[in-house]
Amino acid sequence: MQAPEADRRDFSKRVEAHLDALYGVAMRLTRNAADAEDLVAESVAKAWASIDSLEDGDRFRAWIFRIMRNHFLTGYRKASRGPEFVGLEATTDEGDAGELAPFLYAQPDAFLQWWADPEKEVTDRMLGEEIMAAVNALPEAFRATILLVNVDGLGYDEAAEALGVPPGTVRSRMKRGRTLLQKALWEHARDAGLAPAGEAMA
């Protein structure tokens, strides 16, 4: 049976609008371009097959991201050539984000100012591969959450739906994950002699 043309056109438009982000998430899950393309195509087919489960059209992005994640976790992972994927469910060992404020408070001003200086060529050299390396070194739950929010532009509640966790978990993962990221970048800059010496960080 052919779907009503308007529904099909609307679905296609929405998929097109979010395709870069869908592909980005698929790349992060599979770490392989060919597998990522397959994952997106299969997830789009699954999403269309279960379009009736989309109760709120405004939630389309979170809804289709969740379908893709579930498809990856339940079946696709087994055939993937990529590394074993760590689940993104809330865990009890994510730590207390509240304990991190004193750490950020101790961030040396010299480092913050050095980082913000747009004219430092060395800053920009550090900032491509090394930012990604630092992000990729984060525990998977933090990495996935930061990338969904900061790169793909999902709101906290959308990211929560896409990841299958409570919104409060996204909030605490953002705090803790971003703090860990800042710590890693600061340590890298210090160890490489790139950043000016500041007072020791806790």
């Binding site: 097109e16 592909y23 789009v44 269309w48 001003d109 913050l112 971003r178």
Partner: protein
């Protein structure tokens, strides 16, 4: 040239409306991600207006996000777009 970020936050006004650095830092990420309620947003903006240390910290976070987005964003290959168009034509 004097470093305006050296030394304590001398402009920091600890008035009755100020939430303090530690609480501001707690709210940074939600604020920068546009996820704070209006009352907390007003509180943190008041703090940032008066605390150059936290202003620098917030600036760092904003820059990091912009740079992360610049390096991590993916563009779907044209081949995938074509494949999906064909797939969705069959729906």
């Amino acid at each position: 040239m004097n470093d305006p970020h050296d030394g304590p936050d001398v402009r920091h006004v600890h008035d009755g409306h100020d939430i303090g650095c530690l609480q501001a830092i707690e709210l940074f990420h939600a604020y920068l991600d546009g996820e704070l309620d209006p009352v907390s947003t007003a509180e943190i903006e008041h703090h940032l207006d008066h605390c150059r240390g936290c202003y620098s910290r917030a600036e760092f976070e904003g820059l990091l996000t912009a740079r992360l987005r610049a390096v991590a964003a993916e563009t779907a290959p044209e081949g995938l777009r074509t494949r999906l168009r064909r797939l969705m034509d069959e729906f």
